[in-house]
Structures are given as C-alpha cells and as structure tokens.
C-alpha cells in the first residue's frame, strides 16, 4: 500500500474506533466523582475498562499524530522547520501515549498505593 493510502486508512480506522471509545470516556469523566481517588482508580481498573482504555489511548494518539502531521504539512513549508515540527509532534505523541499506557498498566495491575 502506498504511504498516502495507508495514512488515509489509518486516520479513518482510528476514527471509527474512537467514536464509541471517546464517547464512553467523555461520559465517564462527566459522571465519575473525580475528587474521589479510590472511586476513580476503581472505575479505571474495573473488568474490561483497562483494555478499552488502552485501545482508546493507542487509537487517539495515532489519530492525533496523523492529524497534526497533515496540519504541519499544510502550513509549515520551510523544509527544516517542517521536519523539526513533524519530529517533535511524533516524539510528543509517543511520549504521551507511553506515559498514559504506563499509568494505566499500574492502575490495572493494582500497583497504585
């Protein structure tokens, strides 16, 4: 598959995944007693939640990276600046995804004090 076609597909597949997953998370964030640490952690770690949350983190980071890439490619034309911006965005997305997944794994594994 050509690179552009792959990008197009990845953006749409993650979009389809994210429609239900982000609605689920948005409703959770709107209804959870967020000041209550025990209740919050219990909800995040409950049954299938960590798997869905991991999928959401992966899909949203990928979707976001692809979207920001298009925006940079459209508006940043200078070669070196464009490369730097694309690299920075990729690194930032990897970093945020890794940190979020690590935190999620700790909560799901019961390592949270």
């Amino acid at each position: 598959m050509r690179h552009g076609v792959y990008h197009w597909w990845a953006q749409r597949i993650t979009a389809v995944l994210l429609a239900p997953l982000t609605l689920w998370i948005a409703f959770a964030l709107a209804t959870l007693p967020l000041d209550d640490h025990a209740a919050t952690v219990q909800w995040i770690g409950a049954s299938w939640h960590p798997v869905a949350m991991a999928l959401a983190i992966f899909a949203v980071s990928y979707h976001s990276q692809l979207g920001v890439q298009v925006v940079i490619e459209d508006y940043v034309h200078a070669g070196s600046l464009r490369s730097a911006a694309l690299g920075a965005s990729l690194l930032a997305h990897f970093g945020v995804a890794a940190a979020a997944l690590y935190a999620l794994a700790r909560i799901a594994g019961g390592a949270t004090p």
Binding site: T31, D35, A103
Partner: protein
C-alpha cells in the same frame, strides 16, 4: 528550486459557510491533541496514589482549567459530529452540495446537544455546578 504553489490555496475560492466547518474541524482537532496531555496527566496522577492525586487535582480541578474543559468538551462534541459526517462522505454519502449544507446544520445542532448533555451530567447530575 523555483517556488511552486502549495496547497491549501484558499484565496481562489469564494467563501461558503461549509468551509467554516472544515477549518473548525482542524482547529478543534489540534485543540483536542493538546488536551491529550491533560488526560495523560490525570491518569498518571491517579496511578501515583491518593496523595499525588489530591495534589494534582488542585491544579486539574482549578477554575481556569474548568473553563478549558468546557471548551474541550465543545471541541470534542463538534469534532465527533463532524468526523461522522466525514466518514459518511468517505462512504460516498451526502456529497451533493445541498446535502453537505444540510449535514452542516445537523453537525452544529448535534454537537450542541451532545455538549449540553455531557455538561448537564457533569454539572447537574454529579452536582458540581461552579
């Protein structure tokens, strides 16, 4: 190398309000990308235990950020609604000019309804009216 014309060359088009939805999809998308950082911060704080969490919530629950959450919620509702419109276009549905104008209004109304429902849950049902 000679400078070549690069997209997007917006100035050649007559303005139509459907363009506004298109650029708003981008703006809300970038805004939501920034919001991911706060979502990750919330998860990390939760993983670090009750004391770290309580400490982090002083910042995460502060008034300026609450205003931003409202904006993020609106951005999310819009990006989701318009994203579904984009997926329909990808299936070849609703591409006619008249249909695209009609779906634009459906997106705007749908996004406002989703925003109000989620805000109602967060502020009234949960009982955290500011």
């Amino acid at each position: 190398m000679r400078e070549r014309p690069l997209s997007p060359h917006l100035s050649v088009y007559r303005f139509q309000y459907t363009m506004l939805l298109s650029i708003t999809h981008r703006i809300t998308g970038v805004g939501l990308s920034v919001g991911l950082v706060l979502f990750a911060a919330w998860l990390i704080a939760a993983a670090r235990g009750p004391e770290s969490y309580a400490h982090a919530m002083l910042v995460l629950g502060s008034a300026p950020l609450r205003v931003l959450y409202a904006l993020w919620l609106l951005a999310f509702a819009y990006h989701l609604a318009n994203g579904i419109r984009h997926l329909a276009w990808d299936l070849g549905v609703g591409l006619e000019k008249r249909e695209a104008r009609r779906s634009a209004w459906i997106v705007i109304v749908g996004a406002i309804v989703l925003f109000l429902v989620l805000a109602w849950f967060a502020l009234v049902v949960r009982g955290e009216a500011p």
